[in-house]
Symmetry: C2
Subunit: 402 residues, 2 copies
Amino acid sequence: MVNIAVLGYGTVGSGVVEVLRTNQESIDNKAGEHINLKYVLDLREFPGDYIENVLVHDYDVILKDEDVKVVVEVMGGVNPAYSFVKSALLAGKSVCTSNKELVAKHGAELLAIAAEHKANFFFEASVGGGIPIIRPLNQSLTADEILEISGILNGTTNFILTKMDKEGVSYEEVLKEAQKLGYAERNPEADVEGYDACRKIAILSSLACGKQVDYEDIYTEGITKLTDLDFMYAKEMGLTIKLIGSAKKTGNRFSAMVSPKLISNEHPLAGVNGVMNAIFVKGNVLGDVMFYGAGAGKLPTASAVVSDVVDAVRHLGENVETKWSQEKLELIPHDEVCSNFFVRIKGSLDRLPEIEEKFGTVDTISITEGEFGFITGMMSEKAYADAAASTEGIISMIRYEK
Amino acid sequence: MVNIAVLGYGTVGSGVVEVLRTNQESIDNKAGEHINLKYVLDLREFPGDYIENVLVHDYDVILKDEDVKVVVEVMGGVNPAYSFVKSALLAGKSVCTSNKELVAKHGAELLAIAAEHKANFFFEASVGGGIPIIRPLNQSLTADEILEISGILNGTTNFILTKMDKEGVSYEEVLKEAQKLGYAERNPEADVEGYDACRKIAILSSLACGKQVDYEDIYTEGITKLTDLDFMYAKEMGLTIKLIGSAKKTGNRFSAMVSPKLISNEHPLAGVNGVMNAIFVKGNVLGDVMFYGAGAGKLPTASAVVSDVVDAVRHLGENVETKWSQEKLELIPHDEVCSNFFVRIKGSLDRLPEIEEKFGTVDTISITEGEFGFITGMMSEKAYADAAASTEGIISMIRYEK
């Protein structure tokens, strides 16, 4: 029997308890040990709830109990999660977490502490909810140099963009619906401004390169400026718009970015709709693979957390190495990153000579009065910004992933 | 340093050597040891080739060399692969294979021998080429009861069906093109009759239920009878046709089948086109996940084999448990398996009363003269077969996965 404790009895925490109860027998069988829920930590009371008798309010009870071998951290936020997790690992307990902020900020340090103490720090649920991606990156894609990871990493924004694409409704209207359905928070900033996706691509980038990628260094642009007209242009070009978090290797350097991107309808990510997430990985020998599933939600996320618990129980007293050192990786400066740019601009095609003088050869598209669109060749962010600064009447710009 | 031997220097074998050479440094880093190619076994000579100096013709040289810790079997076919692999495992060497026939037929036995001898038998490349699916099933989806695994498991047939769907060309025409491009063998039977997909779903089913599913027990139907008119009906109904290998849990029993299926364009598998493969998994708490990528090809397959080698080197002297016992699983008899059936039949809609009397309430569709189509409600294979046997003029039947 292995005793575990769950920190936080919110959505994911209660999901973890539910998954353990629902599949106890098969989970125990796969772990090779009976997994016993000894404690749940929460500041609140839950009278009458299943966990009533294992509920504690003081973390020290868990920390000091040597029988607790695995701690599940599903409180979210950096504090006090960070100090709880660190002290658990220092005490030789393994930790499984769904906390992307914690992992993005302190993952490398916590992995190092876990290794020193022959324990494990697992975080499958921190990216892509129930989609297996962290363990496959660490243990399956080991024959490859990872050249690119691009993902639809946030279900809220993907729900909004899918509705805008399929039903031609405005951003504001869909956001309201998403809030009503519980897919978007009342304050949706973390989702719609791309901050959530940014934490997740920081984690994936760090695992791809084995070094620390700070999320603060990742250029991040949200979806709040997209309009129904942008989607009409996209449709006309056989493209769709997705919020993509991506990391790419160019030579020996990495770039990373979160932004809306125009992608071909033939791209594997184009068919990922609604609240679903997917992570696309390109290896230098493997080629393209993609992992698809529910990127959030109580039970899918809890399923990923519990799969980490099983792995932690299988490896008690033994560290499973994850390559992610604390050495900071300097990303390619955003100015130097190259893209194709789709630009909407006021006026008519008569402006083409002026535009091509500034942006080089472009492809144009015209679908409505008073404005038109053009797609540049590959150019750096700086070259684009310089050209755009000296051009009158630019309405909007979306990067285009060919 | 860990010495390995590669059995068979064909497409996959030479790919394995190429992957090791291309990414030697990062592979060694991930394995924690230098991986040294000590032998390649092949009956042929390869004068001037990189492997010329490590080439041997006698398997005993490899078997008797105690320095060889990992054997890569990429010869294909059951014999002599089976005796080579078995003797390697009995000698305590780990084995990594891409050989689906071997795994489907002897996987459970070879896993047991590996466990007894503190070695490993890994076979990531045997299903889905480069797509990580075996390791995720064993190590990531451990919190779930697997309710369904459905996959596009054969690239040749998916290439043919995609062409028929998108370009409206006939089966015979596309098969010729696929043969010219090297996607289909001169004798395409193993692919087009579904035998290859059958081996693969047998492996996945066995892993999902932890027991032996014999491929001979799996009802298997190929794509040779599909016509361009079938695809016209599909298009009209907003569906597409894919060759699907699937295993499903009903109560405590499993069914398994390989057959062409009509699926909705919204289904994640519908967007899997050309030679790509994908495996869709439904867990009881996780919901739906899908794994997508190149299902064949020299380098993707070799990438999966080498990822197994890395895992084998990480676990020298230690068995990684795979739940797949030799106990045979009795599948639900094919007669009892339930589906919706899409049927094309001669005549006009005047025949509806007669049809509904035999098949129950149906939906009809009419797109051409002299025939029409109908979709039944859920009914068993036996009920369908009985009804069909007493009905004149049935042209074709395709199962419909709602």
